[in-house]
């Protein structure tokens, strides 16, 4: 027996001879009952160990393969500690830290922008999803992901004023973010107060409130001294310093599209002081859309210095997109190669390393290509796509969860004689007035006419009562574009007065109410609906408060309980909560305010009591129900109309013909708006005959159909250009299945283990249903408070405040927003978890690089997407790859072999085995007796290590190629820009030279100008060189690979 213990002295670094992962310092040697013991200071405790169980720590750490060779295995917990520490470190490229860390429901497409941004070379991204896909959630997920990775603390959201409250509510309820709405003055004070800035914030500002004034840069004291101007100057001054904001989200980013506007200027200023810009816009993405360039040039000015650069990139992209389509369509290698040839002819892609790799890969695979090989090639092509990581676009049709069928029915209520008389008379009055007076027909007259077709009794009652106090009742058009806030047209009271006077001559209100054919139809619809769906809820939309009030009164009288929301209802959230939760409340009467930013997916039926003439308004109404989270396969849309009215004509010739209610309209708001704005005056023109009006409607219908078709084609074309990324979606789903996110169990285990190691005495008690009671010791609370103090962060959470037990929900946040009395939600982002991860890193927890022997049950492995694995023994090597460069990233990779036959197992299965060992593995104490460890070490050296080295080399190559290609494109764009500017200057110089030949005064001036231009040219070249050097630095990356662990697994049936 070795007598290594004889040479041990206090102060020596030692470890257990039987368990090399347990390392510490020998504090003293004591004797107990005739035996010699060492008192060893382990990282977290002091323990007596028989001296003969200790040995000195080797001078340099042993590689896992050496430990394997000597059969010095450790328990699965050590593997878990090693990998947990890396996972909680927040640098893993293939993890999604935002997954499960919020209260938002899981939809794979919403993580696509997160992945795109993480891969984006600029760290900026444009989210251009179609409406209704949750762009707000996507932006907030990006913030969550970046917070988890980089401990970000400063978020700025810019949005139209009308959306500020919606953003605030959404961030609070789904992400637990306490965001505050600020104006320029408050934002300035936030940025100027170092303490508040350090502490962090989530600020929401309306674009208008912080947009710089025109003369903002005239200088202090000389020009504008408003808060907005001072804010702009601050942003400009701080351009070269530490970023002021970590993430800036700009909602409705198309407001920035015009480079001449101050909104654009604001975005430019913000870009200089922000680490990540996230733009949200539902604007259609296609080649003729100049908005795309405007937004891209803000996000990545190096790649998109001018419009021609975008054209150039789009042109170069075209064969890449075609090649990808060819790959996925099952095309031959020759056909794919032909597209690659074409791509390489583009000057932008000449010498592109990613394409060269692709060629090599293509050449190395024999025909026919397998589905996996096609997926691999498609993925390479997606990554090579020059727009792939700058734009994230998801269409409704790509989202599985949105495939809800719309069952659309129209109810045409025939008018009674009295109703017809009123309708005809008042319509004639409205149309006549439109032509006899100088009233803008598109707004006021259309509104008046629409109120009439909404509800005749309600309209009459309204006009009679409002003669003296006319108010704008159309809530649809009341929601004006915030950018046009100063152009709101106030109605002309004379029209109302005239209508009121006329209505006196018409049948009485009581008579009309009694025979209200539309209301009778509605009552029939509701009765039938409640008969068929005894617990169902239904929404009745109307664009007019007058109609809503009328319906509320009449329905109540008939015994229907209704909830009501419109612009005058202050706490709409409370009303909606009541409507959702109260089983007695079955009907919601809502104006257009209820059609914006409100989620009603717990309903599956809605009634349009009146018809907005703009189909986008109807789409918004339907969108409240037909949205993510709607669990029914079918929703019902019931449209109510008076027969043979303008509404009826519009509905028949536009809505029904184009099936506008049956399909989601995507981003075609602008198209529809343009066509309708020219149609409305004609519909109200008394000089047109009925037939002419109908022809006019048909023309509009055809025009809209043509425009929709064209937009769809362009969209389809552009869809590929920005790489819709079904492979990205697949990778998100795989990440979820493979556990590449921090779940509740893992978080609980991590907290328990780190607390156990560093702060004995704390305890976590599983209270079931995902709830845990956490009790901390005074020691950990004190350290946590100190940690917060050093970081300038307040003590805002209950967990960590004191030693009283706190009920926590660990991991996946659930339910509605947190409040007093509810369990505290503790995710990866919780300051206490961050504190623990920091402490664990500082203390070197998980620093050992072990050889592990473990037993697992087959069922535990198969549950992890490794169904093909059979019982047996496997050897898995786990390595850590680190890529430092513009952004430091890590990857944990696994390779495995079956020990029996030495055959490699798929990487996915190797990963599943490691996960199973971490979570359910049990120690395999006699592994070294059962298996020849020397042979296992050989297997690692000869099989696993080369496999991992080869993969690492490929990954390094891929990353370097990506960086190099991107920089090359930027430099080429830069060169083009330089050449264009140089040419212009040279031409100017040439012209001036001609003038110098004249020899008069003009010649002297020309000489001076030539000199100035030559100086300009020199400066241009110098600037170019500096910028080129800066860009070239983006190519630098330092890759490193190290062995993390080797695991021997016995998988039992």
């Amino acid at each position: 027996m070795d007598s290594k213990d004889d040479c041990l002295r206090p102060g020596d670094s030692v470890r257990l001879r039987g368990d090399p992962s347990r390392q510490g310092t020998l504090a003293e040697v004591v004797e107990r009952a005739g035996q010699r013991y060492g008192r060893v200071r382990f990282p977290t405790s002091l323990q007596l160990v028989p001296l003969d169980q200790l040995e000195p720590l080797p001078a340099s750490p042993e590689e896992p393969v050496e430990l394997l060779r000597r059969g010095r295995f450790v328990a699965p917990e050590t593997l878990r500690r090693v990998l947990s520490q890396i996972r909680f470190g927040g640098r893993l490229a293939d993890m999604l830290y935002s997954m499960g860390a919020t209260r938002a429901d899981f939809y794979p497409h919403q993580y696509k922008p997160v992945l795109k941004l993480l891969d984006s070379p600029t760290g900026n991204v444009l989210i251009a999803d179609e409406v209704g896909l949750g762009k707000t959630i996507e932006a907030a997920l990006i913030w969550t992901e970046l917070r988890a990775r980089f401990d970000y603390r400063r978020l700025l959201v810019l949005c139209p004023k009308s959306l500020c409250l919606k953003w605030q509510a959404e961030l609070e309820s789904k992400f637990g973010i306490d965001a505050r709405i600020h104006g320029a003055e408050e934002l300035l004070s936030l940025l100027s107060d170092r303490e508040r800035w350090t502490r962090g914030f989530a600020a929401i500002c309306s674009l208008q409130s912080v947009r710089p004034p025109r003369d903002w840069d005239a200088g202090e004291g000389r020009g504008n001294d408003s808060a907005r101007a001072r804010l702009a100057r601050l942003l400009d001054d701080r351009a070269e310093d530490e970023p002021l904001f970590d993430v800036c989200v700009v909602d409705e980013a198309h407001h920035l599209r015009n480079s001449e506007t101050l909104s654009h200027e604001l975005a430019r200023l913000l870009r200089q002081v922000t680490s990540h810009m996230v733009f949200l816009s539902a604007t259609p993405i296609h080649l003729r859309n100049r908005d795309l360039f405007a937004l891209l040039s803000l996000l990545d000015p190096d790649s998109y210095p001018n419009e021609s650069a975008l054209d150039w990139i789009l042109e170069a992209n075209r064969p890449l997109v075609a090649a990808r389509e060819e790959v996925l369509r099952g095309g031959s290698k020759t056909a794919i190669a032909a597209f690659l040839d074409e791509a390489e002819r583009s000057p932008l892609l000449a010498g592109n390393r990613q394409l060269a790799h692709l060629r090599e890969r293509l050449a190395s695979i024999p025909e026919p290509l397998s589905p996996d090989q096609r997926a691999e090639l498609a993925q390479i092509l997606e990554r090579a796509n020059l727009l792939a990581n700058t734009v994230s676009r998801t269409r409704r049709r790509d989202v599985e969860e949105l495939r809800v069928r719309r069952d659309v029915k129209a109810y045409r209520a025939p008018m009674s004689d009295a109703e017809r008389a009123v309708y005809d008379r008042l319509t004639a009055e409205v149309c006549g007035l439109a032509w006899t007076s100088d009233v803008p027909p598109g707004f006021l007259l259309a509104t008046t006419q629409r109120l009439l077709t909404s509800s005749i009794p309600a309209a009459l009652d309204h006009w009679r009562r409002r003669i003296e106090d006319f108010e704008l009742e159309d809530e649809e058009d009341g929601a004006v574009d915030p950018d046009r806030a100063d152009t709101v047209i106030h109605p002309v009271g004379s029209l109302v007065r005239h209508l009121a006077e006329v209505s006196v001559e018409l049948p009485s209100f009581v008579e009309l109410e009694e025979q209200d054919s539309k209301f009778i139809a509605l009552r029939g619809i509701l009765e039938e609906f409640f008969r068929n769906e005894p617990e169902g809820k239904i929404i009745v939309f109307s664009g007019f408060r007058a109609t809503i009030r009328y319906l509320e009164r009449r329905l109540r009288r008939d015994g229907f309980h209704c909830a009501v929301i419109h612009g005058e209802v202050a706490d709409r959230g409370q009303v909606l909560d009541r409507f959702r939760d109260d089983p007695e409340l079955r009907i919601l009467l809502s104006s257009e305010v209820g059609s914006e930013g409100i989620d009603l997916q717990f309903c599956r039926a809605l009634v349009n009591y009146d018809l907005p003439w703009n189909p986008m308004r109807v789409e918004q109404r339907i969108g409240r129900v037909d949205r993510l989270g709607q669990e029914a396969p079918k929703i019902t849309v019931l449209n109510l109309l008076y027969e043979n009215t303008i509404d009826d004509k519009i509905y028949t010739r536009l809505y029904e013909r184009l099936r506008l209610c049956e399909r989601a309209l995507g981003g075609f708001e602008e198209v529809l708006g343009q066509e309708l704005s020219t149609l409305v005056p004609d519909l109200l023109n008394p000089q047109l005959t009925e037939q002419e009006r109908e022809e006019r409607l048909d023309q509009t219908s055809q025009a809209i159909a043509n425009r929709l078709k064209l937009e769809a084609e362009l969209e389809e074309d552009a869809a590929a250009l920005v790489a819709h990324g079904d492979l990205v979606l697949r990778s998100i789903t795989e990440k979820r299945a493979q556990g590449r996110w921090i779940g509740a169990e893992e978080l609980a285990t991590y907290i328990r283990e780190v607390l156990g190691e560093l702060y004995p005495g704390c305890h976590l008690t599983d209270r079931s249903d995902g709830l845990w009671e956490v009790a901390l010791t005074p020691d950990v609370c004190a350290n946590f408070h100190e940690w917060l103090r050093r970081r300038g962060q307040p003590l805002s959470a209950r967990l960590g405040r004191d030693t009283l037990p706190v009920l926590c929900r660990l991991g996946e946040a659930k339910g509605s927003s947190p409040s007093r009395g509810r369990p505290e939600e503790v995710t990866l982002l919780h300051p206490f978890v961050r504190f623990l991860a920091d402490r664990a890193r500082d203390k070197g927890l998980g620093g050992h690089r072990p050889a592990v022997a473990a037993r697992v049950q087959l069922v535990d492995v198969r549950a992890r997407d490794a169904g093909e694995l059979g019982p047996g023994r496997y050897l898995i090597a786990t390595h850590l790859w680190t890529f430092s460069g513009p952004v430091e990233q890590q990857l944990v990779v696994h390779e495995g072999v079956a020990i029996g036959n030495g055959e490699a197992i798929p990487q996915r299965v190797a990963e599943a085995l490691v996960s199973a060992v971490m979570e359910a593995g049990r120690i395999w104490p006699d592994c070294d007796a059962v298996l020849a460890t020397g042979k296992l070490a050989e297997l690692y050296d000869q099989k696993l290590k080369p496999l991992l080295e080869e993969r690492f080399a490929k990954e390094v190559d891929r990353r370097q190629a990506e960086l190099a290609d991107r920089v090359a494109i930027q430099i080429r764009n830069l060169e083009r820009n330089r050449d264009r500017q140089s040419d212009a200057i040279r031409q100017a110089i040439e012209k001036l030279r001609v003038r110098t030949a004249c020899g008069d005064l003009a010649a002297d001036k020309a000489e001076r100008m030539i000199s100035l231009n030559e100086s300009k040219l020199r400066k241009l070249r110098s600037r170019f060189e500096v910028r080129r050097q800066e860009l070239a630095k983006g190519r630098e990356m330092i890759p490193a690979s190290s062995a993390l662990a080797i695991t021997v697994v016995d998988v039992a049936q």
Partner: protein
């Protein structure tokens, strides 16, 4: 039965042979924890310095299982007419049970063999010898070529010793003799006869037993310390006050204690208050047959456990933050499955809240699950039966030093500035 006998014989035969050859030139320490109970015995062996500190629960041969639990061996021996002891019933042999109670002489009403023949010491020694042989044999058969063969085996032993007898030196001495004699015989192949037992016991008089045990790395460990040693070395340990209620078949032990990490002097388990009464599961069953029995029994149970907590609260450790945050109470022992006992223990929470101005109650906590315990034959929800044996399988140097109530003086409240708590008089005081 023959198959069972053969199985047991194989174990006993293997125990008599040497340890397996070592694969590595280093010592491997194996600690065998023996929880010798009045009705059943549990044995767990652990490799505390190997990766994951694996611990193996020793299965009881089917024929000697108690309560049909795979790791509970009935505390019973058979003595044949030939004078040979055995663990399995055989024709013509006399069964002996309850010898532990007799050995400790504590509770004559519930056990104790009051008849001529072998003494309680002899029966205990014979039983322990056979149980230890069976355990050693099983360990070598099951793991000799595996985990135990890693290095040169170094055996050590921890025997549980009842908390109620902590202060009784005569009793401890008797128990030491039995353990020493059993250990002396464990690796010897000859049959365990009454004569052999008597001879061996005779050789361990006075201090010899203690010295022998020391040479064998064997120790008597207070059961209360054994119950909490796992917890004391777990991540959840804290230097604070706890309560423990151990519900056995016969008795209920209740105590309050704290754990203090004295750094270089190791852990100390200070027992503030401890009481033991015959309020175990068997006693409960008996009293249920009597009129008013259950009511009286529950009252006695409440009084006993509440007295332990309240005396700690007002006299022994009134400054503890537990009176504000809540006092964690561990419930252990096979009797915690008894509904009555569980309900009365849970009722302590409201009682303490009602009687404490600081508002803290009592919350029941489980002892942490045994780390790396290999006990595949039983359901996880019955593993708690092994808690003491698991604690005993930890190295003796890890066991906290136990300070008895008499070692700890009462807290002296300052009369000049009485706190609100001191001024409070509860219902229990009047």
């Amino acid at each position: 039965m023959t198959g069972e006998q053969n199985h047991l014989d194989r174990r006993l035969e293997r125990a008599a042979r040497p340890d397996p050859p070592a694969r590595e030139r280093r010592p491997v320490q194996l600690v065998v924890g023996v929880d010798f109970g009045t009705t059943c015995t549990k044995i767990v062996a652990r490799l505390p310095y190997e990766p994951g500190e694996p611990a193996f629960a020793v299965p009881a041969p089917r024929a000697i299982r108690a309560e049909d639990h795979p790791y509970l061996a009935r505390s019973a021996v058979w003595l044949g007419a030939d004078g040979v002891f055995g663990l399995i019933e055989r024709a013509g042999a006399d069964p002996f049970t309850g010898f532990k109670a007799s050995l400790l002489g504590a509770f004559p009403a519930f056990g104790g063999v009051e008849r001529p023949g072998p003494s309680a010491e002899e029966l205990t020694t014979a039983y322990l010898t056979l149980q230890l042989r069976s355990a050693v044999g099983w360990l070598l058969l099951a793991h000799g070529d595996g985990a135990l063969g890693k290095g040169e085996l170094s055996w050590s032993w921890n025997f549980g010793f009842p908390a109620a007898s902590l202060d009784d030196e005569a009793l401890a001495s008797r128990y030491r003799r039995c353990a020493a004699a059993a250990l002396d015989l464990v690796r010897r192949g000859e049959p365990v006869t009454l004569e052999l037992i008597r001879q061996t016991l005779a050789s361990f008089s006075g201090e010899q037993a203690g010295l022998f045990l020391e040479r064998q790395n064997a120790h008597l460990v207070p059961e209360v310390a054994a119950a909490v040693v796992g917890f004391a070395h777990s991540a959840e340990r804290e230097d604070e006050l706890f309560a423990l209620v151990d519900v056995g078949g016969l008795t209920v032990d209740a105590c309050t204690f704290n754990l203090v990490d004295r750094k270089s002097h190791g852990l100390r388990c200070g027992i503030f208050e401890a009481r033991v009464e015959q309020l175990g599961v068997e006693a409960w069953k008996t009293c249920q047959r009597e009129p008013n029995g259950p009511i009286q029994f529950e009252k006695k149970f409440d009084e006993m456990v509440r007295a332990v907590i309240w005396d700690t609260r007002v006299k022994r450790n009134p400054r503890s933050r537990r009176w504000r945050d809540g006092l964690p109470l561990f419930e252990t022992g096979g009797g915690i499955a008894s509904t009555m006992h569980r309900e009365r223990i849970r009722a302590l929470d409201q009682w303490l809240r009602d009687n404490s101005a600081q508002g803290g109650g009592v919350y029941v906590r489980s002892l942490p699950p045994a780390k790396s315990l290999v006990a595949d034959l039983c359901r996880p929800d019955t593993l708690h039966r092994l808690a003491v044996a698991v604690g005993l399988s930890l190295p003796n140097v890890w066991v906290p030093e136990v300070w008895l109530p008499r070692h700890i003086s009462d807290h002296q409240a300052s009369p000049a500035t009485p706190s609100c708590e001191d001024r409070y008089i509860s219902k229990d005081h009047v």
